[in-house]
Amino acid sequence: MVFRHKHILGIEHLSRDDIQTILDTAENFREINSREIKKVPTLRGKTIINLFYEASTRTRTSFEIAGKRLSADTINISASGSSVSKGETLEDTARNLEAMHPDIIVMRHAASGAPHYLAERIGCSVINAGDGAHEHPSQALLDLLTIRQHKKTFEGLTVAIVGDIAHSRVARSNLYALTRMGAKVRLAGPGTMIPPGIERLGAEVYTDIREAIRDADVVMMLRIQLERQGKTLLPTLREYARFYGLNQENLKLAKGDAIVMHPGPMNRGVEISSYVADGNQNVILEQVENGVAVRMALLYLVAGGESKE
């Protein structure tokens, strides 16, 4: 088996084979999560630090559970209540953490490229858990695992991603991953939320959600970040819901067996109606479940280094 990555900084650097290896490994880790004793001894003695400079419940908990189920010692550091809030630079934090000899640092940061900066300055593995508007590789991989479970293959699939594309690291990572695996990606959102030139990465761009959803196999809704972009890029939330929200009406345009995805946390009634969020086409909680298996796979693959066989 070949997996030559010390760090997981973004999907951009992963090949089709790498993605395949991660998904296959994750698929086999799922069984552990259904056992009564949800633990294997594989990463005993390894130390994983979850370094989160941005608020996160789902991703941090998911990485923490993934590490613990592999018997690693996982430690959480969040920016508030740590030396970061006392003014320490990222470089100093990195040096201090390194002195404690962790094996893997899982990092989330509001600045794009922060995990890359850390990876260049530290001896251990770094996994990007979301950096600014850049990438969120583990989210894209869990999305792919969920899609593969329902659709078996990526070849020939049409995936519509709807929302604030410009500020979404989830959209970017999914775009890289899905196109690499052979799926067709449509991006849709208000003009102010579509980054110029994104077509060059292989996506089709729509400003009408109905056109983007038509005959799609997968509809992925993105969260409107009320706390950030809510005020400047949108006239009103109600208007956004009316033109770009997914509801039972426009979902009918997608294929009959289309699945509905959302990376969470959802704004019910804004980008997704409650009816659809709880409807029988939604796979949102499966995404969360797959998240643990995918993160176990990532930790396993970077912790082991290269196989000598």
Partner: protein, 178 residues
Amino acid sequence: MAQSETVILDHLGIKRALTRIAHEILERNKGVKDLALVGIRSGGDHLAAELQRRIAEIEGEDVSLGAVDITLYRDDFSTRGILPVGKTDIPFPIDGRRVVLVDDVLYTGRTIRAAMDALFDIGRPRNIQLAVLIDRGHRELPIRPDYVGRNVPTSRDEKIHVEFDESLQPIEVRILKP
């Protein structure tokens, strides 16, 4: 480097050995009550399926069949690095069962140690027995098989290869000398 290969067990020989082991398992356990076969991936899982077929022919009853992948229980993770993770698939409770672990080649015993650890994470069997097609010696742990297809004295630099065809039937066992 020239290698020499010798077939030490052919298709018929393997069939006879497995049939005998099936009888021995039934004799020792007085039938199929509470019995379960768990093959170790990869190789042992195919042999476990063969044993299940033979036991069904003899007793007219299917015994539970599972497979265990020991990659996550290896003791050489830090030196060997990552290996592909297979799927552990034991679709029945093993609590209170007589579990026969099945492997193709028994060597140091470390694989069996890992497989037993994996079983204990899943449940508490009444007992664990061990069936192997080939025992090549060189044990590094206090482990011995209950059922053996053939004892083959080897040196450490030799390799034993059990060949399966596309339908996962064992064809032959070869010894590779360096």
